[in-house]
């Protein structure tokens, strides 16, 4: 079943077109990766799907509903979350408050239990729950950003370069975590600089160049394509 379906999406900043007529689908429980060189429009694509920047053209459907013009809070409530580039955790809030912010749109009684579940998954966070999030290491901050996003009870999690700035050990743990979350039923839309690992974990891949889709298909196919190296070298 299709969870996210995008067609003809366009994003502009003033006269600068960052995303041009992009089509993309993510099925329920699927991992899809979006690749591309710096400035290809990957972050802009994710931000438009979340509603942080408006779609200038095209439609976004999530879970069978047209959300093209919905505001960010209602997209979060419907199960769509973005873990942004650079983590963006609240360094002046405690670890606990950061997690609670992730549950901001929820009003059910299970929040406390779910926060504990995050601590069980990330014991490093549990030890520092009352510390300011600013004291966490880069890897821990990324765990916090993901834990925070999980507390919204998402069905699709978008991750924008989660391995950026992490040590090789933490990069591996990050990809393991993504695999675990996916096995638990979470669909994932992953933007990564680490092309080979992203292609390994994802079922399908979409390659962007200057805002347009260059190639899209099963990861193995995209991985073999010559366009992949071309897109990163910018050679045409």
């Amino acid at each position: 079943m299709t969870l996210l379906e995008i067609s003809g999406l366009e994003v502009r900043y003033g006269r600068n077109v960052a995303v041009k007529s992009v089509d993309l689908t993510v099925a329920d429980r699927q991992i899809v990766t979006v690749l591309g060189a710096n400035g290809a429009g990957k972050s802009s694509l994710l931000r438009a799907i979340q509603g942080v920047v408006p779609a200038r053209a095209g439609t976004i459907r999530f879970d069978g509903r047209d959300i093209t013009t919905s505001d960010v809070p209602s997209r979060v409530r419907s199960g769509l979350v973005l873990v942004p580039e650079g983590r963006q955790i609240f360094v002046s809030l405690t670890v606990q408050d950061n997690l609670l912010m992730g549950a901001y749109t929820r009003h059910d009684a299970d929040v406390t239990r779910d926060v504990e579940a995050i601590y069980t998954r990330f014991p490093n966070l549990a030890m520092r729950r009352d510390k300011l999030a600013g004291v966490l290491s880069g890897g821990e901050q990324q765990m916090l950003a993901i834990g925070r996003a999980l507390l919204a009870k998402p069905r699709l999690m978008m991750l924008d370069e989660p391995s950026l700035g992490l040590s090789p050990l933490f990069v591996q743990r990050m990809f393991d975590l993504i695999g675990d979350l996916n096995r638990d039923g979470l669909a994932i839309l992953l933007v990564e600089q680490n092309t080979s690992m992203a292609l390994q974990i994802a079922e399908r891949a979409t390659l962007l160049e200057l805002g347009s889709v260059l190639i899209s298909g099963p990861s193995a196919e995209v991985g073999r394509s010559e366009m992949l190296t071309q897109a990163y070298l910018g050679a045409h």
Binding site: Q50, V52, D71, V76, Q88, I89, F90, L93, M101, Y104
Partner: protein, 306 residues
């Protein structure tokens, strides 16, 4: 010696008004990174409107003269409503229309416009001279070992502290408080959490309007008189108190407000009333050279993005 102690007591009492107004400034600066110049006139409007309805009743002949306490309540409600109008017309409108491009200059300037308009409207209506605001317990004092403590002032001080305490609990423990703190640091990330920023910003204006209103009421009761220039005079020293205490810090607002109150009372006692502003601001400048972030401030304030 007893005279000096008496001045300190008076100064602390005076500080209660400064603390409350300083806190109103602090909220909008700390959370929205917006120096809201409408705060001093809002403080004044509460007191002047309360006086007017206590004297003449509600406009359009709705009621006759109101009891002093009811009049203050009406004044506070009006102040909160004006604060929301200010939010709409300065902050929200300008942000929505011009986004980040204008930085903070336009909301700042338009709030300055509100200051002048409100103050001059009140001046046109009621003149610049002081008006008497009568309450039954103007002259109730208690004596503590030779010191005279005015009862209304003492109650005001407790009221101010209770409000500050309540506000800090609210910010620390409630969901809305958490959202406000997150907006103060990173409104973009707050939005990603599903915080409807445009719906929560008015909360800040309601709170700061409430603080201005309470401060105006405290002033009217304690000093028994109100005048159109009171906003300027008090707002000035509240800003000094806020800066001294540290921008964005609740406890800083308390310390700064009380310290300014005591300095003021001492200056009046030792050197006369004309020296107050020069001494308060002179000491403030010295304090800032030594400790630019204020007593309780941290450096991040003023760098927010909203």
């Amino acid at each position: 010696m007893i005279l000096i102690l008496q001045q300190i007591v008076n100064g602390v009492m005076l500080g209660a008004v400064y603390v409350t107004v300083a806190l109103a400034f602090n909220l909008t600066i700390g959370i929205l990174n917006f120096l809201n110049f409408t705060i001093p006139p809002l403080f004044m409007v509460t007191a002047m409107f309360a006086w007017a309805v206590a004297e003449h009743g509600l406009p359009f002949g709705l009621t006759g003269p109101l009891n002093w306490a009811l009049a203050l309540g009406v004044g506070i409600v009006l102040t909160i409503l004006i604060s929301l109008v200010v939010e709409r017309l300065t902050f929200r409108y300008m942000k929505a229309r011009y986004g980040d491009a204008t930085e903070h200059a336009i909301p700042l300037v338009s709030s300055l416009g509100f200051l002048l308009i409100l103050e001059n409207l009140v001046r046109i209506a009621y003149g610049t001279e002081p008006h008497r605001f009568a309450t039954p317990f103007q002259d109730l004092n208690i004596r503590v070992g030779g010191l005279i403590v005015s009862l209304p002032q003492l109650l005001s001080l407790f009221l101010a502290l209770a409000i500050v305490f309540g506000l800090s609990r609210m910010l620390a423990t409630t969901k809305t408080g958490r959202a406000l703190r997150s907006i103060a640091e990173n409104p973009d990330a707050s939005l990603l959490m599903g915080v409807d920023v445009s719906r929560i910003v008015p909360v800040v204006f309601v709170l700061s309007g409430l603080l201005c209103g309470v401060a105006g009421a405290i002033f009217a009761v304690n000093y028994g008189q109100v005048y159109s220039g009171m906003g300027n005079e008090i707002g000035n020293k509240a800003i000094a108190g806020m800066v001294l205490g540290g921008l964005g810090s609740i406890w800083g607002a308390i310390a700064g407000g009380v310290i300014v109150g005591v300095i003021e009372a001492m200056s009046v006692h030792l050197f006369g009333g004309d020296t107050v502003q020069a001494i308060v601001w002179g000491l403030l400048l010295v304090a800032l050279i030594v400790r630019p972030q204020g007593l309780f401030g941290h450096n991040a304030i003023g760098k927010g993005k909203l």
